[in-house]
């Protein structure tokens, strides 16, 4: 494994992209940063601009209005970068399946690298998912 990928696994900065979620997943993502879970232990930081991000945390259905913007944000993330889909809605459509405003799932719009299911996934699940992602990257 080269140094670049190792560094990436040591300090993944995440950008949080909500594409029409119900907030639950978003809260749980933020929760991961707070004292009980403290993702900074793993060097994970929430950043304010996709330019700084190494990973996009996508939550929610892909609504029509979000779709071009999400793609735009993905393009603005410097590569190498990964996309993490969080929550049932972003995996499929969850309970919102069939809505006229969500024709596509997240992975039909963005190249999702890892899926973290749950409605909402517990912070533990998110951390486990991210850890698995890091292992995956390390194995690359």
């Amino acid at each position: 494994m080269n140094l670049k990928m190792k560094a990436l696994t040591k300090s993944p900065w995440v950008y949080h992209l909500s594409t029409g979620s119900c907030n639950n997943c978003d809260i749980e993502i933020l929760d991961c940063l707070t004292p009980r879970f403290d993702l900074e232990r793993f060097g994970i930081q929430l950043v304010g601009s996709p330019r700084h991000a190494d990973a996009l945390l996508v939550t929610g259905n892909m609504t029509l209005k979000s779709m071009p913007r999400a793609l735009e944000v993905y393009n603005q993330m410097p590569k190498p970068g990964v996309v993490i889909a969080i929550g049932t809605c972003s995996l499929g459509h969850g309970i919102f399946d069939g809505s006229y405003i969500c024709p596509k799932t997240v992975d039909e719009v963005l190249p999702v690298d890892i899926y973290i299911p749950g409605c909402p996934p517990k912070p533990e699940a998110i951390i486990a998912g991210v850890a698995k992602l890091l292992n995956k990257l390390a194995g690359k």
Binding site: L64, K65, Y100, I101
Partner: protein, 145 residues
Amino acid sequence: MKWPDIEKKIKEKFGKQILKWAEHNERRIYADIPLPLLKEFVQFLLGPLKGRFIIASGVDTPRGVIEILYHFDFYQLPQVFSLRVMVDKKNPKVESLAGVSKAIEWIEREIHELLGIEFTGHPDMRHLILPDDWPEGNYPLRRDQ
């Protein structure tokens, strides 16, 4: 001012024109009124009666009319008073109430894009929640969609 007073005042002013007065229970009152009376009625409710606009909801009925319900309450009172107007589906035009209360502005935009009702005199009839490139004439809440 308690509810009986309010009820009395409403009936005094509009008693003859109210098409139907229904009390689901003591806290939920519905009144059907003719469409032209709407603006005056709402002005009366929000003005002298110090009511509070909650929301409006539109229903596309199988009868070929779209019902619009305007829900009001009166601050500390438990009663919810709902005004019902019928709009002809073939000519869905309603006088806009955005000038009466700011709070009605958004919901009229929403009903416009979802049910296709034209609110005449509305200051800003852009899309509220649907994308700007949403196809014209496609109203998701209509029964025929």
